[in-house]
Amino acid sequence: MESQSNQLSQAATIAERRAETAVLPARRSAPLRILAILAQSPVGFAGSLIVTAVVVLAFIGPVISPHDPLNRNIRARFKPPGFVDESGALYSLGNDQLGRDILSRIIAGSRVSVLVGVVSVLISGTIGVIYGLISGFVGGIVDTVLMRIVDGLLAIPFIILVIAISGVVGAGLSTLILILGFTGWITYARVIRGEVLKVREMEYVIAAYALGQSRRKVMLIHILPNVVSSAIVLAAVQVGVTILAESSLSFLGLGVKPPTVTWGLMLSDGRQYINSAWWMTAFPGIAITITVLGVVFLGDWLRDFLDPNVRGRA
């Protein structure tokens, strides 16, 4: 009895302390607060900076792009980085086999990466969370069957599955987004199910039942919000995986088709002239690497931030 009241008073102190610390940032406006939190973590800061930059680039690309990404120029073919044409225009990252400006094409390509990354992950995240929620919450034979299906799908390496499906379904931007969306959920299903199993046994869930709440209400109000943070962390990782998958597929000629500009397609062009024009290959790859790095950093930071148990640990 005594230890119980001890625990209670301890919990009260912890709650008080949390309330005290929570007061400080709460006085500032929301964007400032987020900035203050981010400033504490260099990785999180770098990640969000990169991701913001790429997203902004995707939106205002046409405005700041130095040249038209589709504009061909016979006299500027294969010009190396730093080329200046007769009108004095600078092509800072060089030109490709048709004389198109590489920098402008990289800016234009950010659109596809952002679009594919965000939309596919929204689709796959939604499917995966629902799937995992049902599997973990319903349990029993349903759970067994659903998880066996996931096992089967996980046995085929993701990129091979995607390549095979896009090979038979056909290429194109929207098709690709759908394919990546409808295959990526597998990753979430297992993790979310595991989280649901953990949360399901929590005291507040049992209390909710005891108060006479319906199963559906318990699932949606008490369980779902508590597994969402895992889903968000996974989603950040998946954005990176999806961007890499898109570039691989477009590179292999199974993804987005020209004239849409994507980094993967630029690499596929670059590969053909690998003996003479290294800049055609180097720069789009750097763009992909930096973007994915930003997403990975942001995901790492989100994981630490959303899960207090990991916070502070390496």
Partner: protein, 305 residues
């Protein structure tokens, strides 16, 4: 142990059954296979005849059962294109793929484990920062792009290594380094956190307080226990390696299974694609079962029900 093996065999069969259903229906529902096979000048009647010949006129469920019954005996049907058994084509390429996977995994492990340990021991030092940064970079980089950059440096500019094919032993260096770097990046991260976890354990402190040498503490007490999560990740990474090899093999024109898959997918040679997908799944599952067995050897406490 026997119970474990039997229950795992049952699981294997169930998983492979699901894989076969998924693979079969994805490929079959995506389009009429006969339209790929039949030349343009064929009449309706000839197409119908051809459909009958390949068995595509039967109900889908029946086709699936025939497919499974034959697949169990190793008969995956004939490649539409090469007009040879799909199995034969796969076996021809398998050796190359295994060789590349083994070389990449070896590079990945020899780089990742020492770096991960070092990173954990010198936690928060400059060295740790550099290793962690490199591993993030290696994870974010598209592996086929790394391959292309290696070709530019070592084949085009330095003229040291061959960029394509598998005609000389040197040719394996670039593709295996390409895949090995990606693997090392992912594994070293895991090694670091597994070591950090273990270094805080009581038995490590005890070993230290006994006055054991740092080397003995690390190798005998810490690393051995950290190996279990490392090996789990290694097993999952092999899935990544199998996937990555598809694209990388195609960059380096390495004559492995991955390239066969890409070639077959682009001409819609579905029998080969089907057989290849099943093969990838089977090897992934078998590797992970082998890893479960390694667990028992490493940690006698683990007893499988």
């Amino acid at each position: 142990m026997r119970g474990f093996i039997i229950s795992r065999m049952v699981q294997l069969v169930v998983t492979m059954f699901i894989v076969s259903v998924v693979v079969f229906f994805i490929l079959r529902l995506s389009g009429d296979p006969i339209l790929v096979l039949a030349p343009d000048f064929f009449s309706e009647e000839q197409i119908e005849q051809m459909r009958k010949f390949w068995g595509f006129d039967r109900p889908l469920g029946e086709q699936y059962i025939t497919f499974v019954r034959k697949a169990i005996t190793g008969d995956f049907g004939k490649s539409y294109l090469a007009k040879r058994p799909a199995m034969e084509l796969i076996i021809e390429r398998l050796g190359y793929s295994w060789l590349l996977a083994a070389a990449s995994a070896a590079i990945g492990l020899t780089v990742a484990i020492p770096l991960g340990i070092l990173s954990a021991l010198k936690r928060n030092s400059l060295l740790d920062l550099i290793i962690t940064a490199m591993s993030s970079l290696g994870t974010a980089m598209p592996n086929f792009w790394l391959g292309l950059m290696l070709i530019i440096i070592f084949s085009v500019h330095l003229r040291l290594l061959p960029a394509f094919g598998a005609l000389e032993p040197k040719a394996i260096i670039l593709p295996s380094v390409t895949l090995g770097v990606g693997m090392a990046a992912r594994l070293s991260r895991m090694t670091r956190s597994a070591m950090l976890e273990v270094l805080n354990q009581d038995y490590v402190r005890t070993a230290r307080s006994k006055g054991l040498m740092q080397k003995t503490v690390i190798m005998r007490h810490a690393l051995r226990n950290a190996l279990i999560p490392i090996i789990t990740v290694f097993g999952l990474q092999l899935g990544w390696l199998l996937g990555g090899s598809v694209v990388v093999e195609s960059v380096f024109s390495w004559p492995g299974l991955g390239r066969l898959m890409i070639d077959s997918i682009s001409v819609r040679d579905n029998t080969v694609v089907q057989a290849g997908l099943l093969f990838y799944a089977l090897s992934f599952i078998l590797i992970n079962y082998a890893i479960d067995v390694i667990y028992i050897i490493l940690d006698p406490r683990i007893k499988f029900q």
